[in-house]
Subunit: 304 residues, 2 copies
C-alpha cells in the first residue's frame, strides 16, 4: 500500500505557513507566535497562536505529526486491527473580535497503520470545516457552503450532500438541542472504494485544505470593521460559551487529545479568550439574536 | 427499611430558605430569583440564582426531588439492582466577584430505591463541599477544613481523613495534573454498616449541610471588600476556566444531569459568569498567583 505520509505532512507544513501569512496580512496588527513541541511517545507538532489581533481575538493554526503505539482504547474506538500508527494533520480555529465575523474551525488529517513489518496496512483521510456565526448573514453562509460544494462537486456530486449532512450531525450540542453553528462539511475514514482511490481522497483532502481561505477570508474581510455595541459583544461571549460546551463535552478530537495525553495547550487553543455564562438567558423574539437561535434549531440547506 | 424521603426533602426545602436568606444579607445588594421546574419523568425542583450582587457575581442554591425509573445506563453506573428510584438534594455554587473570595461548592443528597411493591430496598446519603480560591490565604483554608473536621469528628474520628482524601481525589483536573481547589470533604454511598446506622448518616448529612454557612460565610465576609487590580481579576477569570473544564469534562453530577436530560440551566448554573482562556499562560515564579499553582499540584493537610 502506497504511503501518503511524507507528501501529506509536507503539504500541511507548507499550508500552515501559507495560512498564517495570509491571516497575518488579514489581521494587519498581530502575528503568530510559534511553539514547537515533542510527544514523549513519538512525533510532535508546531503550534502557532495569534492573540489580541485587530481581527483575530484568539486564533490557532496547528500542525502535528505523531506516531507510535495506539492505546487499546483507541484501537477499539477506531475499529482497527493494528496498533502501530502514524497520524498527522492541520487544525485551525479562529475566534474573531468583531461579533459580526463568525468563528471558524477546520482540520485536515491523514492516518495510517502498520503491520509487524512496518508495511502500511490501512490508511484514511479525514477532516472538515464548520462556521459558527453570532449573527446570521445569509450571504456569508451561502459563500461558505458554496465554496465547499464547488470543491466537493469537482470530485463527485454525492459528496457535498453527504459531508454537509455529516457536519450538521457532528457539530450538534445535543444537551441544548441546537447546532453549534451553520455547518460546512465533515468527512472521516476516507478509504479507497471501487470508485474512489486513495490517490483521489489524498487530492480531495489537499484541495479541501486549500479551500479554507477561499471559504473564510472574504467573510472576515467584509465584516471585520463593522461597528458593534457592548450588548452585541456580550451576545458573542454568551454564544462562545456554547462553543466551549461543545468542545469539552462532545468533541471527539478534544477528548481523544486529553485521553492520549496530548499537549493540553495545543488542544485547548480552540477555547475562546473571553466567555460568558448568563443564567437562562434568552434573547427577545424577533431580534437578530433570536434569528440565530431559530437557524440553529434546524439544519438548513443553504444552497438551492 | 425506614424512608428518609420526607424528612430529608423537608430539610433541604428549609435549608434552601435559610441559606438564601443569609446569603442575601451577606451580599447586601442583590436577591435570589426563583425558577420552579418540573421533570417530565417525575418530580422537579426549585432553582434560585443571584446575579451581579455586591459579593456574589453568580450564585445558585438549588433543590430538586426527582423520582421514576432509572435508565439502564444509570442502574449500571450506580451498581444497583432496582430501577425505581427517588433522589433529592441541595446544590450550592457561589462565584464571588472579588478574586480574594474563594469560589465554593456544596451539595447534600439522599437516594432510595424500591422493589415492585414500593418498599424501600436500598438507600444512601451523599454530598460534600469544596473550595476553590484564586489566592492562598491559609487562615481561610484552615477555617474551611476545620469546620468540616469538627463536624466529622462529632461522629467518628476516621471520617474527616477519609472524606478529605476522597475530596482531593474527586475534584482533580487530571488533564492539567492539578487539583480544582483546596478540597474539603466528599462522601458517597453512605449506607448502614455495623457501626453506623442510616439514622446516623441521616443526621451526619443534615448536620454537614448546616455547617456550610459556618465554613464559608466568615471567609467571604473578611475578603469581600479587599481592593483588587484588573490583573488579579484576569487571573480569577483564567482560573475560572479550569473550573469550567472540571465541570464539563470530569464532574459526574454534571454529566449525569446532561445524560438524564435534567434541566440544563439548573445544571449549568455552576459555570461562572465571566471566564477567560489565555493560551499557555503561566504566572511568574514567586508571585501570589504561582503560589496557588504550587498548592494545587499536591494535596496538603491543612490541619496539623
Amino acid at each position: 500500500m502506497k504511503s501518503y505520509k511524507d507528501s501529506f505532512y509536507q503539504h500541511i507544513c507548507n499550508l500552515q505557513d501559507e495560512i498564517c501569512n495570509r491571516l497575518t496580512i488579514l489581521d494587519g496588527k498581530e502575528t503568530f507566535l510559534e511553539d514547537k513541541w515533542k510527544r514523549p511517545g513519538g512525533g510532535g507538532g508546531r503550534t502557532r497562536i495569534m492573540t489580541n489581533g485587530h481581527v483575530i481575538e484568539k486564533g490557532g493554526v496547528n500542525i502535528s505529526g505523531v506516531h507510535g503505539t495506539l492505546p487499546p482504547q483507541m484501537v477499539e474506538y477506531l475499529k482497527v486491527s493494528n496498533n502501530q500508527f502514524f497520524a498527522c494533520g492541520i487544525s485551525i480555529v479562529l475566534h474573531p473580535k468583531n461579533p459580526f465575523v463568525p468563528t471558524v474551525h477546520a482540520n485536515f488529517r491523514y492516518f495510517e497503520l502498520y503491520d509487524g513489518n512496518k508495511n502500511v496496512v490501512d490508511q484514511w483521510f479525514a477532516g472538515g470545516a464548520d462556521m459558527t456565526p453570532y449573527y446570521i448573514n445569509e450571504e456569508d453562509i451561502k459563500h461558505f457552503h458554496l465554496t465547499w460544494k464547488e470543491h466537493c462537486d469537482t470530485y463527485d456530486l454525492d459528496l457535498y450532500p453527504t459531508f454537509k449532512g455529516a457536519c450538521d450531525e457532528y457539530f450538534y450540542n445535543s444537551h441544548r438541542e441546537e447546532a453549534r453553528g451553520v455547518g460546512g462539511i465533515f468527512f472521516d475514514y476516507l478509504r479507497p472504494t471501487s470508485t474512489h482511490s486513495s490517490d483521489m481522497w489524498h487530492q480531495f483532502t489537499v484541495d479541501a485544505s486549500h479551500a479554507f481561505l477561499t471559504a473564510y477570508e472574504p467573510i472576515a474581510k467584509r465584516r471585520q470593521d463593522l461597528p458593534y455595541t457592548e450588548e452585541q459583544r456580550d451576545w458573542q461571549e454568551i454564544r462562545r460559551g456554547r462553543y466551549v460546551e461543545f468542545n469539552l463535552i462532545h468533541d471527539k478530537g478534544t477528548l481523544f487529545g486529553l485521553r492520549t495525553k496530548g499537549r493540553i495547550e495545543s488542544i485547548l487553543m480552540s477555547l475562546p479568550s473571553h466567555v460568558q455564562w448568563k443564567y437562562d438567558f434568552h434573547p427577545e423574539q424577533g431580534t437578530e439574536e433570536s434569528k440565530l437561535l431559530d437557524v440553529l434549531k434546524q439544519p438548513k440547506n443553504w444552497i438551492e
